[in-house]
C-alpha cells in the first residue's frame, strides 16, 4: 500500500529560483539561505520518496482570472515549467503520477472535497522553487510529482481548517492506493511577506516562529486562525501559509521534527522550512 512518510514545508520565493538558475547561490546575499537547505538535500536523498504531492499556488501563470479553482489536482503525465514573462525556468519537466493522482482525485471527491481535475497545466515558481531547494539542479527530478494547486490569489482562499482537513483526506486517499509507494507531502509558500502597496516589505518574525511551533505541536489550533489574522500579522501574501496546513493534515497528530530553518530576507520574504516525519 502507498504510505505518507513525511512532510516538507518551504517558501517558494521566485528570486530563489533565479539565484539557482543564474549560478548566484554562492553570493554573500544568498549563501546563508542555500546553506540552510544542505541538510534537507541530504535528508531527501536518503528518504527517496517515490512521489511528492506538492501543495502550492499558481501566480497568474496557468490560471488567470478566467478560471479560479480553489483546489486543483494535476493528473497529467507531465507538467512543463511555465513562462512567467521572461522565459521558462531552465529546470527539468515535472513528471506526474497519473494513476495515483486520479485515485486521489476520485477519493477526495467522494470524501466531499470537490477537486478540479487538471490534465494540462504549466507549473510556475510556486512548484519548481521548492524542488530546486530540495534537489538542486539534477538532469531530471528524481521522483514523480503530483501538483496540488490552491487558490490564494483571489480572496478568500480556503480556510486553514479546510486545508487541514484536505490534508487528512489526502492521507486517507493515499493509504487506499494498492501499489507500494513512499509519498512525501510538500506544503509551500509564505512565510510573512507583503508584495503590494505602501505596506510592502512587512516581515513578522514573532508570528512566523509561533506559526512554526503551533503547526508542529498543535495543528488543530493553528487551523482555527482566521484569514484576517494572517493578513494583518504576516502580510497580504503571508496568507499562503494556509497551504502548510494541507501538509500538516496529511501527517500524524504527533510528528518528529527532523529539521527547521528560518531566514530573512529572500527578496521581500521571510523563508521558513520544516521537515516532519511520521513516527515509524
Amino acid at each position: 500500500m502507498a504510505k505518507i512518510t513525511a512532510g516538507v514545508s518551504t517558501s517558494h520565493v521566485p528570486a530563489i529560483g533565479a539565484a539557482v538558475d543564474n549560478g548566484r547561490t554562492g553570493e554573500p546575499y544568498w549563501q546563508p539561505l542555500f546553506a540552510g537547505f544542505e541538510r534537507s538535500k541530504q535528508w531527501i536523498a536518503e528518504e527517496k520518496p517515490d512521489v511528492i504531492i506538492l501543495v502550492y499556488n499558481d501566480h497568474a501563470s496557468a490560471f488567470s482570472l478566467e478560471l479560479i479553482p480553489t483546489f486543483a489536482i494535476g493528473c497529467a503525465d507531465e507538467f512543463a515549467p511555465a513562462d512567467e514573462g521572461w522565459g521558462p525556468r531552465p529546470v527539468p519537466v515535472v513528471k506526474g503520477h497519473p494513476a495515483l493522482a486520479w485515485h486521489i482525485a476520485e477519493n477526495l471527491i467522494l470524501d466531499e472535497f470537490d477537486m478540479t481535475i487538471v490534465n494540462k497545466m504549466d507549473v510556475d515558481h510556486g512548484l519548481t522553487v521548492p524542488l530546486s531547494l530540495m534537489f538542486g539542479q539534477p538532469e531530471a527530478w528524481p521522483c514523480k510529482v503530483i501538483p496540488l494547486a490552491v487558490n490564494v490569489v483571489q480572496y478568500p482562499p480556503p480556510t486553514g481548517n479546510r486545508c487541514f482537513n484536505l490534508g487528512k483526506a489526502i492521507r486517507r486517499a493515499v493509504e487506499s492506493f494498492p501499489e507500494d509507494l513512499k509519498v512525501v507531502v510538500f506544503g509551500t509558500g509564505g512565510m510573512s511577506h507583503q508584495l503590494q502597496g505602501p505596506r510592502a516589505g512587512l516581515i513578522n518574525k514573532e508570528f512566523d516562529k509561533a506559526f512554526l511551533d503551533t503547526l508542529v505541536s498543535d495543528p488543530a489550533t493553528q487551523a482555527k486562525v482566521p484569514h484576517v489574522d494572517y493578513v494583518r500579522e504576516a502580510g497580504s501574501e503571508g496568507i499562503e501559509l494556509v497551504m502548510w496546513l494541507v501538509m500538516r493534515g496529511a501527517l500524524d497528530d504527533k510528528v518528529n521534527e527532523v529539521y527547521r530553518f528560518y531566514h530573512v530576507p529572500a527578496s521581500n520574504t521571510a523563508v521558513g522550512h520544516l521537515i516532519l516525519e511520521n513516527p515509524r
Binding site: A15, A60, S192, Q194, G197, A200, V228
Partner: protein, 130 residues
C-alpha cells in the same frame, strides 16, 4: 461598499470580489503580457495596445503612468501588475520600493535589516496613533 474586517489594515488592498470585478480587464491585459509578441506590441505603442482592452480610462492612465498603487486601487492584482514590471525589466523588489515610496536602495536596506515591522502597521488606528 460593504465594510470588511480587513479594511482597517493600512497600506493594503486585498484582492477580494469587489476588486476582482473592478479589475478584470486590467488584469487580463496584464496577463496578455505573458506572450513575447504581445510584450513587443505593447512596448511599440502602449496606448494603442491598451485600447484593445475594455479597460476604463483611469486604468489605462495608471498603466501609462506606471502608478503601481493606483493600479491596485483600480482592481489590479499584484501578481498580474507585476507582469508589466517584468515587461519593463523591473524586479518585484523594485516595484515594492516604488509602492512603499522609498528608493530601491532604502527598501533593500530595510529588508536586510529584517523587513518592515508590523508594530504600528496592524491597523489604521494603530498607524495613526503613530
Amino acid at each position: 461598499m460593504t465594510e470588511k474586517p480587513y479594511h482597517d489594515i493600512p497600506g493594503t488592498i486585498l484582492f477580494d470580489a469587489e476588486q476582482s470585478r473592478l479589475g478584470y480587464h486590467l488584469n487580463m491585459f496584464c496577463m496578455s503580457l505573458m506572450k513575447a509578441d504581445n510584450r513587443e506590441a505593447f512596448k511599440a505603442n502602449e496606448r494603442a495596445y491598451l485600447d484593445r482592452f475594455p479597460m476604463t480610462e483611469a486604468q489605462k492612465q495608471s498603466v501609462l503612468d506606471r502608478d503601481w498603487n493606483r493600479m491596485l486601487q483600480l482592481g489590479g492584482n499584484i501578481y498580474f501588475t507585476s507582469k508589466i514590471a517584468a515587461t519593463d525589466g523591473l524586479s518585484f523588489q523594485q516595484i515594492a520600493a516604488m509602492m512603499s515610496g522609498v528608493t530601491q536602495a532604502e527598501y533593500a536596506e530595510m529588508m536586510l535589516k529584517g523587513g518592515r515591522s508590523v508594530e504600528g502597521n496592524r491597523s489604521k488606528k494603530e498607524k495613526n496613533r503613530g
